[in-house]
Amino acid sequence: MTTSTWIKIIIAAAIGTVLGLVYGWVIDPIEYTDITPNILREDYRADYVLMAAEAYQSEQDPETAARRLAILGSEAPAQIVTSTLAYAEKNKFTESEIILLKGLLTAMQTYQPQGVAAP
């Protein structure tokens, strides 16, 4: 085969690759159905933490609150609430919601999981 033929073959292969990538990434990407909460969109995460704070207000059970927050990832519960509090202040949550989040943050900062001795 001549050089020009090889060039045409390479161009055809490149076009095929681009088409394959467009199809696989844009037209029919892999769909996830059983995801874990750590990749939830930030506003959904924030609302989940707010729900945990609302529940904590009446339950006053830091262990349950920490368990609920744990599904959001490997960060410490206090860190998760801190991030949410920053998001809440940036996005103009109501004052009562901020207070609830601060209450949960305080609880998580002082919370010691069972079996872990306080320093």
Binding site: M1, T5, K8, I9, I10, A12, A13, A14, I15, G16, T17, V18, L19, G20, L21, V22, Y23, G24, W25, P29, I30, Y32, T33, D34, I35, T36, P37, I39, L40, R41, E42, D43, Y44, A46, D47, Y48, L50, M51, A52, E54, A55, Q57, S58, E59, R68, I71, A88, N91, K92, F93, T94, E97
Partner: protein, 306 residues
């Protein structure tokens, strides 16, 4: 021949592209919605929504949050989850919020006072034809917003509090349907009996219906105004041990409905945990069908608060 080579190269390229985009470097989700959560995480989500609802009594917000999970029937999902938790031996305290939220969604209004009656919570329904439009910088929008379009968020007016301790508690009348285009009447408040009012047996009857579940003991619990009550625990004892049943897990049969399947020829005693007296000697009746065939019937017990 040349065209064949080109076509082959194109197909090989296409295959490589697909392999790369589907297996080697697939699309990564970073901003997922709760609707595609794994089922156990959805359960956890519902659990937190219900626990939050017990604290806030914001039914519209709870409904909006549940809608994020993409369930076809949110009430059925809540009830099913509550029943799974009962089967798994979870504590009543953990199950009750789910049952209560399911019951309140079913009836369309908050079923009990906000808290331990230090203050009355008044949720004022707003007219559906004057929606509140969320600003882009507003606090978290629990509706699905994939685009930048304005989102109409149903909300309730802020709860008002009073420092004066009331001498009675109040129940709220039904919220207006969200889809309504008419103005809803202003809410009225009606006193409800204290939660600790004792239950008494209002009626007890044998149920003989061929084809119904054998030995089904059915309960209906109502308050003084004959409104069915969800989340009430009933203890059923026999020589085989003790069982617990809760109202509200089958809202399609009534918020105050609960049931239990009796064994034939076993004597049961029933007691409503909230101040109820013991009802002894309950046994599944033996019924006779039109062909003189014998079958095990059921029992219906109706309790009402004094």
């Amino acid at each position: 021949m040349k065209i064949l080579h080109l076509l082959l190269a194109l197909l090989i390229g296409l295959g490589l592209g697909l392999a790369y985009s589907w297996y080697i470097s697939p699309v990564t989700y970073v901003d997922a919605s709760p609707a595609i959560l794994r089922s156990d995480f959805k359960d956890q989500f519902r659990d937190v929504i219900a626990a939050s609802y017990v604290s806030t009594h914001d039914l519209a917000r709870a409904r909006a949050r549940l809608s994020l999970l993409g369930d076809a029937d949110v009430i059925a999902e809540l009830s099913a989850q509550a029943q799974r938790m009962v089967a798994a031996g979870e504590s009543f305290e953990r199950i009750q919020p789910l049952a209560r939220l399911a019951a309140d969604l079913q009836q369309g209004f908050v079923s009990s006072p906000a808290t331990s009656t230090e203050f009355a919570v008044i949720s004022t329904p707003f007219a559906a034809d004057t929606p509140i439009v969320a600003s882009p910088t507003a606090a978290p929008d629990v509706t699905e917003t994939q685009s930048t379009a304005e989102t109409v968020v149903p909300t309730l007016a802020t709860a008002t509090t009073s420092t004066v301790t009331p001498t009675t508690s109040f129940a709220q009348t039904a919220l207006i349907p969200l889809a309504s285009s008419t103005f809803a009447p202003r809410p009225t408040f009606t006193p409800i009996p204290p939660p600790s009012a004792p239950f008494t047996l209002a009626s007890q009857e044998s149920i003989c219906e061929p084809g119904s579940q054998a030995g089904l003991m059915q309960f209906i619990l109502m308050d003084q105004r004959r409104i069915q009550l969800a989340g009430i625990e009933i203890v059923i004892t026999s020589n085989q041990g003790e069982d617990h049943s809760f109202t509200g897990f089958k809202p399609e049969l009534g918020n105050g409905y609960a049931d239990f399947v009796m064994q034939a020829e076993t004597v049961y005693s029933v007691r409503v945990v909230d101040g109820g007296i013991l009802i002894p000697d309950i046994i599944a009746p033996i019924c006779t069908d039109p062909n003189n065939g014998k079958y095990t019937g059921g029992v219906l017990l109706v309790f009402q608060q004094k």
